[in-house]
C-alpha cells in the first residue's frame, strides 16, 4: 500500500497514457515457441503410459499458458495487484483440488446396479 501515488479522479486516467506502455516482446518468437511446445505435446501423447503423458502434457500446458499470460496478455508488465488476483484464483483451485482429492480419486465406489 503506498501513500505517495499520483492523485486524481479516475476519469483522468481511464484512457491509458502513452508512457503506460512498455517495450513489446517480439510476439513472433513467442508464437513460434508456443507452436514448438504444442508440437512436443502432440508427440508426447504417443507415449503409451497415460500417467507420464498426463504429467508431461500438464507441465507443458502450464508453460504455454503462462507464456500467453506473461507476453501476450502483458502480465509481465502489469502491477502486483493483477498478480495477486490471479494468484488468489490459483490458490482457490489448489484448495479445491486438495479438498476434492481424497473424496474422488481414492474412493472406490461401491456400485449397486439400479434395477
Amino acid at each position: 500500500m503506498n501513500t505517495n501515488q499520483p492523485e486524481g479522479l479516475a476519469h483522468e486516467i481511464a484512457v491509458p497514457k502513452k508512457e503506460d506502455y512498455h517495450g513489446h516482446p517480439n510476439y513472433l518468437i513467442i508464437y513460434i515457441s508456443l507452436l514448438i511446445l504444442f508440437a512436443i505435446t502432440v508427440f508426447a501423447s504417443l507415449i503409451p503410459n497415460p500417467l507420464v503423458v498426463f504429467i508431461i502434457v500438464f507441465v507443458i500446458s502450464i508453460v504455454k499458458g503462462s507464456m500467453v499470460l506473461l507476453y501476450f496478455m502483458h502480465l509481465k508488465w502489469e502491477p502486483v495487484l493483477i498478480w495477486i488476483l490471479l494468484g488468489l484464483a490459483l490458490m482457490t483451485l489448489l484448495f479445491l483440488t486438495l479438498g476434492l482429492y481424497p473424496d474422488i480419486v481414492s474412493v472406490k465406489p461401491y456400485l449397486v446396479t439400479k434395477p
Binding site: N2, Q5, P6, A10, I13, A14, V15, P16, D20, Y21, H24, Y27, L28, Y31, L34, L35, F38, T41, V42, A44, S45, P50, V53, F54, V57, F58, I60, S61, K64, G65, V68, L69, F72, M73, K76, W77, E78, P79, V80, L81, I82, W83, L85, L86, L88, A89, L90, T92, L93, L96, T97, L100, Y101, I104, V105, V107
Partner: protein, 198 residues
C-alpha cells in the same frame, strides 16, 4: 511483475477485465479440476478419449494459438492508432474464431453420429455407465468454452467496429483481446487433457 507502477495507474477497463478473467479462471479451473480428478479415478476414460478426433483438435489448437497472435498484433496496431491494420488483424482473428467453431461443430456432428452424446444414451444401453460421464464432461467443457469463443468474438467485432468508426477507444481492443487470450489459455489446458491422454 512491476512493483513500481502504482495500483491506480491501471486503466479501469483493463483492471475490470483482469478481475473478470480471474473469476473465469475459477469457473473453468473448477471444471478442469473436477474432470482431471475423475480422469485419474476412471482408467476406462482413456478408451473413450481415443474416439475423439485428435486431428481436428490439433488444427483447432493451432487456429486458436494463431488467433491469439493476431489479437496481440491488433493490440500493437491499436497503440499506433493504425486503423487499417487493426481492422485487418481483428478480421483475421474473427476468421480464426469462425474456423474454430466450424471445426468444433464438425467434431460434434461426427461424435453424435457415432452415438457419443451428452447424456450418452447409447453407451448406457451398452452397459458402459461410467464412460458416459466422460462425454458429459467433454460436451460441458468444450460447449462452455465454445460459448466463450462466441462471446469473445462478438466483443472483438463490436469493439473493433466502434474503434475504427469513431477513431477513439482504441484501448478497448486490448481489453477485448485480454478476454480472447483467456479463452485461448483455457483451450491450451482443455485440449491435451481431453484429447491426448489415452
Amino acid at each position: 511483475m512491476n512493483t513500481k507502477i502504482t495500483w491506480r495507474e491501471i486503466p479501469q477497463a483493463r483492471l475490470a477485465m483482469w478481475a473478470l478473467i480471474a473469476g473465469e479462471f475459477a469457473i473453468f479451473g473448477g471444471l478442469i479440476v473436477m474432470y482431471t480428478l475423475n480422469r485419474l479415478k476412471y482408467e476406462s476414460w482413456g478408451e473413450m478419449a481415443q474416439h475423439t478426433n485428435v486431428i481436428a483438435g490439433t488444427i483447432n489448437t493451432l487456429v486458436l494459438l494463431t488467433s491469439s497472435f493476431f489479437v496481440v498484433k491488433a493490440h500493437e496496431a491499436a497503440l499506433h492508432k493504425n486503423k487499417e491494420k487493426v481492422k485487418m488483424w481483428i478480421w483475421l482473428t474473427l476468421i480464426c474464431a469462425l474456423l474454430f467453431l466450424g471445426i468444433k461443430s464438425y467434431e460434434y456432428y461426427h461424435e453424435i453420429l457415432h452415438g457419443f452424446t451428452l447424456p450418452g444414451t447409447q453407451l448406457l444401453a451398452e452397459g458402459k455407465h461410467v464412460e458416459t460421464m466422460y462425454w458429459s464432461f467433454y460436451y460441458t467443457m468444450t460447449g462452455l468454452h465454445g460459448l466463450h469463443v462466441i462471446g469473445g468474438a462478438l466483443a472483438l467485432f463490436f469493439v473493433m467496429r466502434h474503434a475504427t468508426k469513431t477513431e477513439k477507444d482504441y484501448h478497448r481492443i486490448e481489453v477485448a483481446g485480454l478476454y480472447w487470450h483467456m479463452v485461448d489459455i483455457v483451450w491450451i489446458f482443455l485440449f491435451p487433457l481431453i484429447y491426448l491422454i489415452h
